[in-house]
């Protein structure tokens, strides 16, 4: 697949022969690539032995699709991309972009606030729980986690692959303290945050000297250690079985149940489970806004500026007399605190937690959301969470695919497959994330948005 010389393609128009040759080569490669794992399937037969089935049909259709796509790319997309690349750059400001830039955030916030009512108004009380819970709350949890991790990764430039450990600390703090001591959600929410940030400092201390990839791997190791301890310390955490029957949060002491002192009865409404879902939705929305607000304010404080300076160049930072130890620890602690809040919310929402919810995959998803959204960009992170989490949740509802691929087709098992694929694809397409511009907080005379490509990335 040597790149075709550009001049030749421009002179002769579309090079059909070359495209065909490329497509056939790609097809051969795809055939070799997929032959073992798609062509053959290992299944256990009635006697319990492993036998092979062949799937030639599937193999050849996949190869055919790849050949077709490669050919179409070479014939149609590639010339267009070349033309696009060669066209003169225009730097004229587009009025549409200015308008969108100004109004998109207020609109998104407004939409997030009215979302439950829109859902209830559209599908009624019956189907609302699914839409508010699966989409609203689920996405907002990841938005909040993304914003929390954004402090560590996006602002301070410390890649943390074990963020889910703090999420787990928050969840288990709430679950255990609420069950053992009967404390209320509103007392335990800050307490979970404090405990998580304490763990953030504890785990942050030893890794202070590390940077970049090494830091990422050590945080990954810490995350796994915490998960393994949660699994094996059965006396405290009940191991794999997890903790169930975690008390649900109350509306200032009024529980959400069908009793006479329940929320519906007190306010003279008819009981439905939707009220609790809506309440939880606003709770996580408030927590997410809190995270965003604190981050925005912190960026303007000396500590926030120190974080960003640290991200850009650690050595310069130290030369200027910034205490890098404290700066890194505050970033870890602040990020961990928000993970703790989110964790205790998660435990309260599920009513059940187990170590399965805190795997490395979870950490990787959060990091993916932050990096794909554009490190340091709040809007980017929210958009990435919406696309990645909302997209994978949407996969659950694609029942019409069953009509195409047969009744045994289960779209949910392709969720993580596509998630991983999307991660690679977005990284290759836009390595700096979806929103890669940076808004400087300190500026001389005039505020300018700068492309992240122009900013040197330190060792971070």
């Amino acid at each position: 697949m040597a790149p075709e010389p550009l001049t030749a393609t421009q002179d002769r128009g579309i090079d059909i022969i070359g495209a065909l040759r490329n497509a056939v080569l790609t097809g051969l490669l795809a055939f070799v690539l997929f032959l073992p794992l798609i062509g053959f399937q290992t299944v256990t037969n009635m006697r319990g032995d492993l036998v092979l089935n062949t799937r030639w049909g599937l193999l050849f259709s996949i190869v055919a699709v790849i050949v077709g796509a490669r050919f179409a790319y070479a014939v149609m997309l590639a010339p267009w991309l070349t033309r696009r690349k060669n066209r003169p750059l225009t730097l004229a400001p587009s009025p549409w972009r200015d308008f969108a830039g100004k109004w998109i955030v207020p609109f998104a916030i407004g939409f997030a606030i009215v979302y439950p009512f829109v859902v209830v108004g559209t599908v009624g009380f019956g189907g609302a729980v699914k839409w508010i819970d699966n989409f609203g709350i689920q996405i907002l949890i990841y938005v909040m986690l993304g914003w929390g991790l954004n402090i560590v990764v996006g602002l301070a430039g410390l890649l943390d692959l074990g963020y889910v450990a703090f999420y787990a600390v928050g969840a288990y703090s709430y679950a255990l303290l609420a069950k053992e001591f009967g404390l209320s959600f509103w007392i335990l929410l800050p307490l979970a945050g404090i405990l998580s940030s304490f763990w953030g400092i504890l785990l942050g201390f030893p890794v202070l000297r590390l940077r970049g990839d090494y830091l990422a791997i050590v945080t990954l190791a810490f995350g796994e250690i915490i998960r393994l301890v949660l699994i094996n310390w059965v006396d405290l955490t009940n191991g794999y079985a997890g903790i169930s029957g975690i008390p649900r949060p109350t509306f200032f002491g009024i529980p959400f149940n069908a009793n006479d002192d329940g929320f519906a009865a007190v306010f003279g409404l008819e009981f439905t489970p939707v009220y609790r879902t809506i309440f939880l939705y606003y709770l996580i929305l408030a927590l997410a806004f809190l995270t965003a607000f604190v981050t925005i304010r912190l960026r303007r404080l000396p500590v926030g500026r120190a974080w960003e300076a640290l991200r850009e160049d650690e050595i310069a930072c130290r030369s200027l007399g910034i205490n890098t130890t404290n700066t890194k620890l505050t970033a870890f602690a602040t990020g961990a605190m928000f993970a703790g809040f989110a964790g205790s919310f998660f435990a309260a929402r599920q009513g059940f937690i187990s170590p399965d919810s805190f795997t490395f995959l979870e950490s990787a998803s959060i990091v993916a959301i932050v990096v794909l959204g554009g490190m340091g960009s709040q809007i980017g992170v929210a958009v990435a969470a919406l696309v990645m989490v909302g997209g994978t949740e949407l996969m659950r509802d694609l029942d019409f695919l069953k009509a195409i691929f047969g009744p045994t087709f289960d779209p949910t098992q392709y969720r993580m497959l596509l998630f991983g694929f999307a991660m690679v694809l977005i990284m290759v397409w836009r390595p700096r994330g979806l929103i890669s511009t940076r808004e400087p907080t300190v500026f001389l005379k005039e505020r300018k948005t700068i492309s992240a490509d122009l900013v040197g990335q330190g060792h971070g």
Partner: protein
């Protein structure tokens, strides 16, 4: 004493497998400075390829000679895994060369998730177990009702690892390709200036890394007789630990690190707690990186402004 000897044998066997995977990490890190997060999953994919090749040979073609079957499985797994890793490098890492530092790492994490789920979807989520390929034990020592045994499959693993390491060492130390590789490792720009095809050299590095991972995968399948789609992550992290412990970028370091990790894991299981054996491995990783970031045989990382 008997338990110790037995665990020594088991640990070195396990360590050889880790060492083979660790070479992949250390080579890739040495040449492009990236933690190839998907390498553990490449190892898992190779074990599946070996499994399928083994099933084709024994149940379809009716091959009865296990030694021949094992040899063919090894070669087939090495070739196919090499193609897979070559393709991964081409699609997911090469476009990101010269991008900011974390980009390839994120891409590799995505690749790791993709590979794991690809195998889960295409081969099913259940454990795949096969009847033991190689049987036979040698009793080395029989005292106090505890027999220290060395099984034939352990011997095979030692032998195959040793032979391949020698071949590989020859490749890196004595051939033109190895020289190009070491040149790229030291200074990629300078190597390109003196006429080394950097892209090709990096591709070949991935191919070699995958071939060694495939050897590890085949040995893993033969040793345990069972493989599942999730088996890539933990061995991958342990092999990475081995690479770090030996000093990342150092090839003998990776092998010695692998054997050390294998020994730590088996000794920990025998004398402390088998539940926490992964915690031990992860702790070694953290402790090494914090206190000895250059590893046992690595060069210290000099910070330049």
């Amino acid at each position: 004493m008997e338990v110790f000897l037995q665990q020594l044998i088991n640990g070195v066997t396990l360590g050889s497998i880790y060492g083979l995977i660790a070479i992949g990490y250390t080579m890739v890190f040495g040449i492009i400075g990236m933690v190839n997060f998907a390498h553990g999953d490449v190892f898992m994919v190779s074990a599946f390829i070996a499994l399928i090749a083994f099933l084709i040979l024994t149940s379809w073609l009716g091959l009865t000679s296990i030694a021949l079957a094992l040899l063919i499985v090894l070669i087939v797994a090495m070739i196919f895994t090499a193609v897979v890793n070559w393709m991964i490098e081409r699609l997911a890492y090469r476009p990101l060369r010269g991008s900011f530092r974390l980009a390839p790492l994120i891409s590799a994490i995505g690749m790791s998730i993709f590979l794991m789920n690809f195998v889960q979807v295409s081969q099913g989520p259940r454990n795949k177990s096969i009847p033991p390929m190689v049987q036979g034990d040698f009793v080395l020592l029989d005292r106090n009702d505890f027999a220290v045994t060395l099984s034939l499959k352990q011997l095979v693993i030692w032998g195959v690892t040793a032979v391949l390491l020698i071949a590989f060492w020859y490749l890196v130390a004595k051939t033109r390709l190895g020289r190009a590789q070491r040149a790229c490792e030291q200074d990629r720009k300078m190597a390109a200036l003196v006429g080394v095809d950097v892209d090709r050299t990096i591709s070949i590095t991935f191919v070699i890394a995958a071939a060694l991972a495939a050897v590890a995968g085949t040995m893993y399948l033969m040793y345990y007789g069972v493989v599942s789609f999730a088996d890539g992550f933990v061995p991958g992290v342990k092999a990475f630990t081995a690479a770090v412990l030996g000093g990342i970028g150092s090839l003998p370091g990776a092998v010695i690190g692998g054997i050390l990790i294998g020994l730590i894991e088996t000794m920990w299981s025998a004398y402390f707690s088998i539940d926490y054996k992964d915690v031990a491995a992860f702790s070694v990783l953290a402790i090494t990186l914090i206190f000895l970031p250059q590893g046992l045989f690595g060069r210290p990382d000099v910070e330049k402004v």
